[in-house]
């Protein structure tokens, strides 16, 4: 009887650990010092296309973009990588009203790239980390809201 209980306990612990690892690999590839990297379930081109639409649907805009892949093609390097600078005028207005120095961190840079393993990843530095040095209450409040938005956004395209 006691032996059976121990086996059951071991089984439950293993199941919980396994489920935990499944959950962890569900959306986030890596999370280090504010850097969030998510593996996309789609190809590079499709991920960029989907993200543009999702950004719009989530009340934000691509304010600017830097196509590093194409820029670096001029040096002979071939890769897929693009940075989208995401924000919206309303959020910008509130942030800059609270502190004129926030331009160092916003608009938030969303980096989409195809790695050497052929898989597509989306990464960004969490707005709360980027804006952590700005003590204004409004900045901290908005940065938390942005964290949620970006988590939601990248969650929609993650594997």
């Amino acid at each position: 009887m006691r032996k059976t209980n121990l086996s059951l306990l071991a089984f439950f612990i293993a199941a919980i650990l396994f489920a935990g690892s499944l959950f962890q690999s569900g959306s986030t590839y890596a999370k280090e010092a504010g850097l969030v990297t998510v593996q996309s379930k789609e190809s590079f081109d499709q991920t960029v296309k989907d993200l543009r639409q999702l950004i719009s649907k989530n009340g934000m805009m691509v304010l600017s973009e830097l196509n590093q892949g194409k820029v670096l093609s001029m040096t002979g390097l071939s890769l897929n990588a693009i940075s989208l600078f995401v924000g919206n005028p309303q959020i910008g207005n509130k942030l800059f009203s609270a502190d004129r120095g926030v331009g160092i961190a916003v608009p938030v840079r969303l980096n989409i790239y195809e790695n050497t393993d052929g898989k597509t990843y989306v990464s960004y530095v969490k707005p709360t980390d980027q804006l952590s040095d700005f003590k204004a209450e409004a900045v901290q409040k908005i940065s938390k809201m942005l964290d949620q938005k970006f988590e939601q956004l990248t969650g929609m395209i993650s594997r």
Partner: protein
Amino acid sequence: MKKEIKKIVFSLLVLIAAGISPNLFVVAQAGYAKLSDLAVNFLIPSIAVIILIFIINYFTGLKDLNRQIRNGFTAGIIGTAGLEIVREIGFHFGGMPGDLPKLLGVLLLNQFALGPDTLSNIAGWSYHFWNGAAFGIIYSILFGKGNKLSGIVYGLLIGIGFMMSPAVVAMGVGHFGVDFGIGFPVTVILAHLAFGTLLGWLIFRLNAGGTSLLNTLKKTFNNKKSFS
């Protein structure tokens, strides 16, 4: 006499106008202005000035200056084709830090962040070839017929000038590309040697009987002296 002075004045105007284009990239890379703005404010007007002088010459009988402009343009374009063949080979083998016509295109259309596309490539290649044509026009007017060596020296000087310019420093390779490797100066020198050789040879054949600006000046002032 009047015709010669007119030729000198128009020659100088064409020299100034043709000299604008090759310097715009240098000015932009030195950080003084954006190439896209310089193109609108200086490149297009300078081309318009050359075309206008060509049309005026056509109607006022300055046919020999027009012939020199036309020959310089043609030889410059052909010389640039030769330069591009060498440059492309050099770039393919890692002798150049970047694809210059593509870079020129994205800077001209102010779309560096988006990278090159068909339109920017067309703009960049056109600008590079126009630079070649402008150098061709300058050579044709300055040297007249020239000689077999003058084209080579001219091409070499352009190549050395390019490697000493802010255009190269801004690419992060240092003067003469010392921070990039020996492939850079070798490619640039060989490419400009190809340009100069083709230009010099073509102008030598096409401008047969053509006079250099210096000779025209000498002739005009000698005539003036003999009159006084």
